[in-house]
């Protein structure tokens, strides 16, 4: 069952990456090369499923497994909620030795019963993990029985860690929504401008940087899947007119299958970068009009784009004197490998390298275009010692990357800015790009750098240096 599901995902026709592969390669699945023992980095499938679904704020997320899977991992992201805080709580069956010996299904059943009694959530999401999968606990059966007995959806999320990478887990999380949630409730308020945004998790509240733009245009966000979502929103998502896919590789299956089942057209887009945001609004408006929204939406959208772009570029240009000529090492991937470059160029910064890991052919082409066709500026993985050297030698003045490489920059005593998922600041939409530039200024122009880059006034033996005199 799970095996078929995974094969189905590896055949995903909506995924450019999969389609570019041969049949044999495709069967092996995504990112097999990332799983070298002793040289792997990144989360497991369960991690990916949790990331994809946990932003649903008003449900209980119950992890069936030993303590590691939740105890080491709960409340560890910044997906924000405008309402319920239930999703931030950690629930787990905390399997002990006896559960492993006798099986964990009964404990899981009781756990579901108890969380429903204690928290009264509209639904419970149950996450499978390696140990119960290995001993044969059938969470799908338990969830089915619980749904019937307790009269509310108990959704099995069958993505035990060992089946693959985080990315596969994202998709399996999406499958759980397709199989058990989306389309289960009929909304009484469906309208001609309803859209879903899929694959946006509202980290640090980024959704709220773009939602006002939609509101200004009279576009209604039916469901964000899954940032700041309520269960009910997701359950009625099948009545939206258009789907936008963010971070397309992660939940592409959701968009494509919603098109298949309910005829909702989708497009891929990103809120990182000014032109990107404008593209999203333009495409969204066009597709809505094609599906029956008032025709004046197109003109109103163009007017809004013009106004917002002017405002954003003006705000960004104000930082130019403080950032001009500084060199950036952009170490991220996917669409971010190019989408922030134009803002950096606008303030006169030079991007010396950009990493195109996890980027599609289209991403790479856009990055190459922005880097004036310089192939050597597009890089894959940079080994940590090389990254350290580039920063220490001053080839780059700042690195923009994710938390994993944070300390390479900091230990080289160079500025660093988090632009991946653990970031504390929101960088989406027009205001987000201004915020990114503000954060760049804050990081790079801190007077501390001059102080700490100075060596101590003694040598390695502690002998105070006498020459020079200024220390």
């Amino acid at each position: 069952m799970l095996k078929e599901k995974i094969q189905d995902l590896f055949n995903e026709p909506g995924c450019d990456k999969n389609q570019a592969k041969s049949a044999a390669e495709r069967k092996k699945g995504c990112t097999t090369k990332g799983l070298t023992p002793g040289a792997a980095a990144g989360g497991c499938a369960y991690d990916g499923a949790l990331i994809a679904l946990q932003p649903i704020t008003d449900v209980v997320h119950l992890v069936h497994g030993p303590i590691a899977c939740l105890g080491n991992a709960w409340d560890n992201r910044h997906a924000a909620s405008s309402g319920s805080q239930l999703y931030r709580m950690g629930f787990t069956t905390d399997m002990g030795e006896l559960d492993v010996v006798y099986g964990g299904e009964k404990k899981l059943w009781k756990a579901i019963r108890d969380v429903i009694a204690d928290r009264d959530p509209p639904a419970v999401f149950v996450y499978q993990t390696c140990v119960p999968a290995l001993i044969g606990d059938d969470i799908e059966k338990v969830c089915e029985a619980a749904t019937e007995k307790f009269g509310r959806p108990v959704v099995p999320v069958n993505a035990p860690g060992f089946v693959g990478s985080k990315n596969l887990g994202n998709k399996l999380g999406g499958e759980a929504l397709l199989d058990y949630v989306i389309g289960t409730v009929e909304p009484d308020d469906a309208g001609p401008t309803d859209v879903n945004i899929i694959g946006e998790y509202n980290l640090s509240g980024e959704l709220w940087q773009v939602k006002p733009l939609l509101e200004k245009l009279g576009i209604r966000l039916r469901a964000c899947i899954t940032g700041d979502a309520r269960f009910q929103d997701v359950a009625t998502a099948h009545r939206a007119r258009v789907n936008m896919m963010v971070c397309s590789q992660a939940m592409i299956n959701v968009g494509r299958k919603m098109q298949e089942r309910w005829g909702i057209p989708y497009f891929e887009g990103s809120f990182y970068g000014i032109e990107d945001t404008s593209d999203v609004l333009r495409t969204m408006a066009r597709m809505l009009v094609e599906r029956g929204a008032p025709a004046d939406l197109t003109d109103r959208t163009e007017a809004l784009i013009a106004e917002e772009e002017d405002k954003a570029w003006a705000a960004i240009r104000a930082f130019r004197p403080r950032l001009e000529g500084r060199k950036v090492l952009l170490y991220t991937g996917g669409h971010k490998s190019w989408s922030v470059i134009s803002a950096l160029h606008e303030v006169g910064m030079e991007v010396i390298r950009t990493s195109v890991r996890k980027a599609t052919a289209n991403d790479k082409a856009r990055a190459l275009d922005l880097m004036d066709g310089d192939e050597s500026a597009l890089v894959g993985q940079i080994p940590a010692p090389e990254m350290y050297r580039m920063l220490e030698d001053g080839e780059a003045d700042i690195m923009l990357s994710g938390g994993r490489t944070q300390f390479i920059a900091l230990k080289a005593r160079r500025p660093w800015l988090d632009i991946n998922q653990e970031r504390h600041y929101a960088y989406a939409g027009y205001v987000g790009m201004v915020e990114l530039v503000r954060q760049l200024d804050k990081a790079i122009n801190n007077p501390m750098w001059a102080l700490i880059q100075k060596d101590a006034p003694w040598d390695e033996q502690g002998q105070v240096r006498t020459s020079g005199g200024e220390g």
Binding site: A39, A40, P66, A68, N72, C130, V131, F162, F407
Partner: protein, 458 residues
């Protein structure tokens, strides 16, 4: 199942809610991080490592070397020995560590792999490729115990692997310190300084102060930089005494003593006046030196801080959750100063906790802490950073102790031991009480607010 006294309330619930506990392999990995030139390796699926890594990075604000054997569906069925071998060879080639510290996980233990035996084979048939890279292994199933237990298992495995047996020689000014899981790099540094003040040299195992005290090495290093070295461990058998800190280090201490004949001085805690006094007496006894002036002065400062602090601690109700040995150390400090341990939660029913002055101890989670704090009208929450949600909901201040402290910087320097560490802890907690003091109002003494009102003004 072991029978526990009535003092322990084992929360028999099916859904652990807001866990206090973290996994045993994570504790073992942290112990390995206290070895120099080390790279910990989890034998499990890559998520096991990824989650642990994120938590360690968020707490220590350091790059953490940490790898995985990346088990998948197929290798889970067929067996993971090849993955261990590949991982070890890859790591030794890329990162050139002195030691690879291996832990099993729930996944591989459920399969029933004999990883210890596998590693002996791997070592034997790759002797050339591995060169002087050493391997050490601890069996740490995720479904047994928490961090503290995993840490204890790893330290015992390290002793077995690297400490020689007694050879009849003694280094008269050398002592071993077996540091517990609850000791921060700041604690380790404090203890080493205290030992040094008596003219003794301490070999600390594991030495987080060497590796994770947040220093800037000036070059890129793919393994731990600093910590207990193989050379240090190679001379632990010659020490005149072993100081073991925390009840969970008792097994390691016994093993070390049996192997080396070095007598153990056991300390259940180094927090609080009595506990530090005992340490001073022991160090004076071992070294033949009087207690240094610096510590006589520090003792006096602690006494003074307790005098100033007791006003704020007296009759305060504390809701405290931690692994057993941290709980023991910190809990005793509160009761020493007249506070009441109104709600106490821990991860495993450690027998020595029966002597903790409180009515009952719940073996449970942070929801038990939250409910208990609400029911008993607690004044303060004391636990790790995951207590922040309870703190928000209850509107109670939170003093963060233990691991993880992901919403703080400088967590590795938090020092809870010695006269100085205890003094700082007393002051910071008293200051927290002062910050959340009840503002006086005309209603304080009205008839319908009988009794409790004045106490609230404390």
């Amino acid at each position: 199942m072991q029978k526990h006294s009535d003092k322990f309330v084992i929360a028999r619930k099916s859904a652990s809610t807001n866990p206090l506990k973290m996994s045993a392999p994570l504790g073992a990995a942290m112990a390995y991080l206290g070895l120099d030139g080390c790279l910990p390796l989890f034998h499990g699926s890559q998520g096991c490592t990824a989650f642990g890594l994120v938590l360690l990075v968020r707490h220590f604000k350091e790059a953490i070397p940490f790898q995985t054997t990346a088990m998948n569906e197929v290798t889970t069925i067929l067996g993971g020995m090849d993955n261990v071998e590949q991982a070890v060879l890859n790591i030794s080639k890329r990162a050139k560590p002195r030691i690879i510290g291996i832990c099993s996980t729930g996944l591989t233990e459920t399969r029933g792999e004999d990883t210890g035996a596998d590693i002996r084979v791997i070592k034997a048939r790759n002797a050339e490729a591995l060169g002087d890279c050493e391997l050490v292994f601890a069996a740490t199933p995720d479904f047994a115990g928490g961090m503290q237990e995993g840490w204890g298992k790893a330290v015992a495995a390290i002793i077995d692997a690297f400490v020689p047996a007694a050879d009849g020689t003694r280094a008269l000014r050398q002592v071993n310190i077996l540091a517990g899981c609850h000791m921060t790099p700041g604690d380790v540094e404090e203890l080493r300084d205290m030992v040094a003040a008596f003219g003794l040299e301490a070999i600390v195992l594991p030495d987080l102060a060497g590796s994770l005290d947040g220093h800037v090495p000036g070059r890129y290093v793919p393994t731990t930089y600093g910590g207990t070295t193989l050379e240090d461990m190679g001379r632990m058998h010659r020490s005149v005494a072993t100081i073991a800190v925390g009840e969970h280090m008792r097994i390691s201490a016994e093993r070390l003593e049996a192997r080396t004949g070095v007598p153990t001085r056991f300390f259940d805690s180094l927090t609080g006046l009595d506990a530090v006094d005992r340490l001073m007496v022991a160090l004076s006894d071992i070294s033949g030196q009087p207690v240094p002036r610096k510590y006589r002065r520090q003792r006096s400062q602690l006494v003074d801080a307790m005098l100033d602090g007791h006003f704020h601690f007296g009759q305060k109700k504390i809701a405290l959750a931690a692994e057993p040995d941290l709980l023991w150390a910190v809990g005793r400090l509160f009761t020493d100063l007249g506070a009441e341990l109104a709600t106490v939660v821990t991860t495993v029913p450690a027998p020595h906790l029966e002597r903790l002055p409180c009515a009952q101890i719940i073996v449970g989670d942070l929801w038990d802490l939250e409910e208990g704090a609400a029911a008993t009208g607690a004044d303060l929450l004391v636990t790790h950073s995951h207590g922040r949600q309870a703190s928000e909901r209850l509107g109670l201040p939170l003093v963060r102790v233990g691991f993880p402290q992901f919403d703080r910087i400088g967590a590795s320097h938090q020092t809870l031991i010695g006269y100085r560490g205890t003094r700082e802890l007393v002051c910071s907690i008293a200051n927290t009480f002062i910050d959340s003091q009840h503002a006086h109002s005309p209603q304080d003494w009205q008839e319908d607010r009988h009794g409790g009102s004045h106490a609230a003004a404390g």
